[in-house]
Symmetry: C2
Subunit: 266 residues, 2 copies
Amino acid sequence: MFGIVGERINTSRKKVMEAVVNRDAQYIREEVLKQEAAGATFIDVNAGACIGEEMASMEWLLSVIQEVATVPLCIDSPDPKVLEVACGMLKAAPLINSISLERERFKAMVPFLQGRECSIVALCMDDSGLPRDAREIIDRAGRLVAALEQIGMKRERIYVDFLVQPIGTNTLNGVMVMEAVRGIMEQIPGVHTICGLSNISFGLPQRKIINRSFLALMMASGLDTAILDPLDRGLMAVARTVAMLLGKDEYCTSYLKAVRAGEILA
Amino acid sequence: MFGIVGERINTSRKKVMEAVVNRDAQYIREEVLKQEAAGATFIDVNAGACIGEEMASMEWLLSVIQEVATVPLCIDSPDPKVLEVACGMLKAAPLINSISLERERFKAMVPFLQGRECSIVALCMDDSGLPRDAREIIDRAGRLVAALEQIGMKRERIYVDFLVQPIGTNTLNGVMVMEAVRGIMEQIPGVHTICGLSNISFGLPQRKIINRSFLALMMASGLDTAILDPLDRGLMAVARTVAMLLGKDEYCTSYLKAVRAGEILA
């Protein structure tokens, strides 16, 4: 099944920031319930925009979210201390976002990860910056997976994020990541791939249609998890339709169920 | 550039049939102009539903269409006599739809094709029926191209139609043709691939969104021409967006132009 990380509970969104500042638990609970109802298989929690208050905001968010969430959470923070405290509060093994090949970041994350029951987003970023071609992405993915396996992480708990860059800055940024995902899924069997979709359309008009088409292309290339807004009905309709077209929906059962629920709208 | 065969002038459509019966030239001319304005690179002409009148209907249609058309026509008939007369009327080399590996059909088409200036749709159909897997499609495509080259057709004038079958009858009908197109484009370099999209969604609800997602997947697999309704704005928006995402729209120029023209609507 295609994995969907619901991205809405992020303090960079104005309404979420307001809810955190005002301790508006009802708003947050509804964001969880709506995302789950729409098909989220993880709920992302990001309090990074609460400068100086990330820890307290994360703690509050997790206490509220766990009252209602029935899917695992994705804890989104660059700070191992925040991750440590967050994990101490969780009832189920989370997805942690993220580690990378950047030397300091990797080193800082190792003590947190060792022996821990969690999944991890592994960014194909190293100290030389963003990758420039598919081969480089696949190479970095291979090194990351090897390094994580060496500290005891199971491969099926690793979600490689190959870093989507805007098509507006380089016409080949789309084919680069399509080729990269295909290569990663073939060459590192059992690993997951994940990405935030919307970066592809950064700077261009009519972003929604770009993101939808890009989701179809990435799923065709083998992407198995995406970070997205599950309340974007058009996007979710594409996810369900493409899963069917890729042969992952026997007798079109899920598609037909979604149509009956009014979820497939062109 | 992705090729688009505008499929609207087909007497199986009620309004077109009425226009043909009433010799309503204005209606037909508008269908040509609207399809060209929307991006059609060929205009399909099919009078097959005029039982006993196909020849006369085709002659009338062509005389009207050629008053205004500026792109080549696609002459759609199983009858070599109709094709012969049609070609005699044309100002520009057409795309002929179609030939197949069915023994009688192939034999009947050879005299028509030999030495003729035209392109041809080559259906991967033989006397044993529809293909059952990607390997079989690729094999039939190879035999068709070889047979057509033997009678003097140039490869770049051959459009292989791999025959889209409904996803509702077999969950793997989508991946079968995706794999087939990829194989054909790799193993028979220089050949074109073409298909009618809408058969994929036959029998299912919300067909438009299925057709749109399928177009994205097929373009990603290498399809270079599709038979479709260019007045379906959502479908054309996907075609333009996917072309950009596949790296075929330098500086996103065509996409941005289409947005300004109001053609990219989610």
